[in-house]
């Protein structure tokens, strides 16, 4: 049968070319597919199979085209010699494709395992992210709580009006609050740089020994009253509570102190006690003075009568008269202390009064070697309402005491001040021997004196105290043994519109 060759030839050549083109395109697409997910085993499989098909298509198509060309150009013998090779390559290529294809199932399983593993990994990763997020949230919450708590504690520490001190095991200061700086008078850096201990604040080292031993033995002290000495030599009475902190989270053992300033409270208590004592003594003194004054008047009257009538015993009678007069002076002082006297109330120019006292005493023999200096308030009138006579008496008493403290050689300064519109201060300051700490509580007691017997009645300061109290004022003392004392009288200033007035004060 002879028939048209063109369909076979056309389909064979065009088909071969199409096979090559399609196989190459498939390989190209398979490479793109693989690039999208290099870990995907199925895509790798498709790349392999596409490669196999490309090898198959190229080898087969070239064989076919070559065969047609050689046969049609009457070179069939040439084709016969190479057809075996072409056929073999062709066989190998599609067997390769077959082999790869057979492993599709295995490739799929491997891919599923990979995907499953990846999914598990992603789940685990997500769980880790969630856990991490939860952890982060918890850390944030805890940090916020911790910050809030720390802020509260810090505020309590910073705002506390009581001193809070934190020390190490050797009582070396580690931390203090602003109240501690104000109470002790030392800057925080000073405390830390100089490695100060709590004991350095104590005025009396024996007090510190006692407190320290108690902390060591009992691990706490509760409301111990001691005195602190500030850098300016001022004493402050404080109440100490302390305990031991054995530390947490690896922190070292430490001590914490809460120190309360009870200086004002103690001062007030002392003032109240003093006032009560003075009131009781005043009543007693008034009673005694009243009962003694009349007999003394009678004794003095009869003594003076006898002096006129019996000159033979004049010497003895004068001794009696002298001592009776001394007794009357004491009684008079007692009456003055107990407010039983009378005085004239008027506007008193303090500066004028001070100048008068200074002038009067400068002529006194005891003040011959005393340097009296005046530092008077210059910014206006310094008036108080009261008895000039009584205030003068107080000033003279203070000056005489200062003179005795200086042992008649030294400097006495009188300062007048007006710190505010309502207060007038008068300070008598000497550089004498000062007052012992044990005596300072008693100096305003009647009949208390440190002078030798016969040189003082012990009534000067107590009478002065009574007068100042009667003027609604106060008298305070600061003294350093060996350096001198300063007595400051606080008096209420007269109001500017105060007109001069006089009245009898009982």
């Amino acid at each position: 049968m002879i028939t048209s060759f063109l369909p076979i030839l056309g389909v064979d050549i065009a088909g071969s070319v199409a096979m090559i083109v399609l196989a190459l395109l498939t390989l190209y697409k398979a490479r793109i597919l693989r690039a999208t997910d290099p870990d995907n085993a199925v895509f790798l499989y498709l790349l392999w199979i596409s490669t196999g098909f490309t090898v198959f298509a190229v080898s087969r198509s070239f064989g076919h085209i070559l065969k047609q060309f050689l046969v049609l150009t009457h070179n069939a013998d040439a084709w016969q010699s190479i057809s075996a090779y072409s056929g073999s390559v062709n066989t190998v290529s599609f067997m390769l494709v077959s082999l790869i294809t057979v492993f599709f199932n295995q490739s799929w399983r491997i891919n599923e395992k990979i995907l499953s593993g990846r999914k598990e990994l992603e789940d685990a990763h997500q769980q880790l992210i969630n856990l991490n997020q939860t952890l982060e949230n918890k850390v944030i919450q805890r940090t916020e709580r911790l910050t809030s708590s720390e802020h509260k504690c810090r505020r309590i520490f910073e705002q506390s009006l009581d001193t809070i001190l934190l020390t190490d095991n050797d009582f070396k200061i580690l931390e203090t609050n602003p109240a501690g700086i104000e109470l002790t008078g030392y800057a925080k850096d000073e405390m830390l740089m100089n490695s100060m201990t709590v004991g350095d604040f104590f005025a009396d080292p024996s007090d510190w020994d006692k407190v320290r031993k108690k902390i060591r033995s009992e691990e706490y002290v509760l409301n111990e009253e001691v005195a602190f000495l500030k850098p300016d030599n001022a004493y402050v009475t404080v109440m100490i509570t302390a305990g031991i902190d054995y530390g947490a989270f690896g922190c070292a053992k430490s001590h914490h102190f809460i120190i309360k300033n009870i200086n004002e409270k103690k001062h007030m208590e002392r003032q109240i006690a003093q006032a009560d004592k003075m009131a009781a003594l005043g009543e007693l003194s008034a009673g005694v003075a009243h009962e003694i004054n009349n007999p003394l008047g009678i004794i003095l009257g009869y003594t003076q009568l006898l002096l006129k009538q019996d000159p033979d015993h004049a010497e003895d009678l004068k001794i009696i008269e002298k001592h009776v007069k001394s007794c009357k002076t004491v009684v008079s002082d007692l009456l003055a202390f107990s407010r039983k006297g009378t005085s004239r109330i008027a506007l008193v120019d303090i500066n004028g009064m001070v100048k008068g006292v200074a002038k009067f005493l400068s002529n006194h023999s005891d003040f011959r070697n005393i340097d009296i200096c005046l530092e008077l308030y210059q910014n206006g009138q310094l008036d108080v309402t009261g008895s000039e006579q009584e205030l003068t008496q107080v000033m003279i008493n203070l000056m005489i005491n200062a003179c005795h403290a200086c042992e008649k050689t030294g400097t006495i300064c009188i300062l007048t001040e007006k710190p505010d519109e309502k207060t007038v201060l008068v300070t008598v300051q000497d550089n004498g021997t000062g007052i012992e700490k044990k005596d300072i509580q008693r100096i305003f007691d009647p009949f208390f004196t440190t002078k030798p017997v016969g040189q003082g009645t012990g009534l000067g300061l107590s009478v002065g105290y009574g007068i100042i109290k009667r003027h609604h004022g106060d008298i305070r003392v600061k003294s350093t043994p060996g350096s001198g004392s300063a007595f400051t009288i606080h008096l209420p200033a007269a109001s500017p519109d105060h007109s001069a007035q006089t009245e009898d004060h009982p």
Binding site: I2, T3, P7, I8, A18, L22, L25, T26, A57, F104
Partner: protein
């Protein structure tokens, strides 16, 4: 103190090897292969190719991959390659194995197909079998289309990745 290492092979094995090596005889290990083996191997190759395509077809079906258009195209490709393999198996069987059909190009325009039985049906059947590219080219096209569709399906997923 050194210990003597134990012999790896027993002495008897050494003797056997020595006898075999010193007293050789004809082994007939290399046989002559007839040229007809080539076509048989080729046909086995086609059968193997066909079988692998069947495996691919049913694997794609078994894993319900045919729901995706790409894999469905690959399934079509496998089916067409199965038909193509059947086509080529038949063609090679007729002209190369049992030699009952022969085709001789006369010119670019004409070809002579001669069968031993002068069966016109066989001649025309063989003529159609020679148009095998009508099966393998579409098969290749479906393979290309299948891979292309898989790339398209994969691309949006890749684009979504940060």
């Amino acid at each position: 103190m050194h210990c003597f290492e134990k012999a790896r092979y027993p002495i008897s094995a050494v003797i056997i090897w020595a006898v075999l090596f010193l007293l050789p005889s004809q082994a007939f290990a290399i046989q002559y292969h007839d040229s007809s083996e080539g076509i048989i191997v080729h046909q086995i190759g086609h059968l193997f190719f066909l079988a692998s395509m069947v495996v691919l077809l049913f694997t794609v079906r078994g894993k319900a991959l045919a729901r995706k258009k790409g894999w469905r195209c690959i399934q079509y490709a496998a089916l067409l390659f199965i038909f193509w393999n059947l086509n080529t198996l038949a063609g090679h069987f007729l002209d190369n194995q049992i030699h009952i059909v022969d085709m001789t190009p006369i010119s670019f325009l004409q070809v002579e197909i001669a069968s031993k039985s002068n069966s016109s049906l066989l001649n025309w059947g063989y003529y159609l079998l020679k148009l095998d590219h009508l099966l393998c080219v579409p098969a290749m096209y479906f393979l290309y289309k299948g891979v292309s569709l898989l790339v398209e399906n994969q691309q949006p997923e890749t684009d979504q990745q940060p």
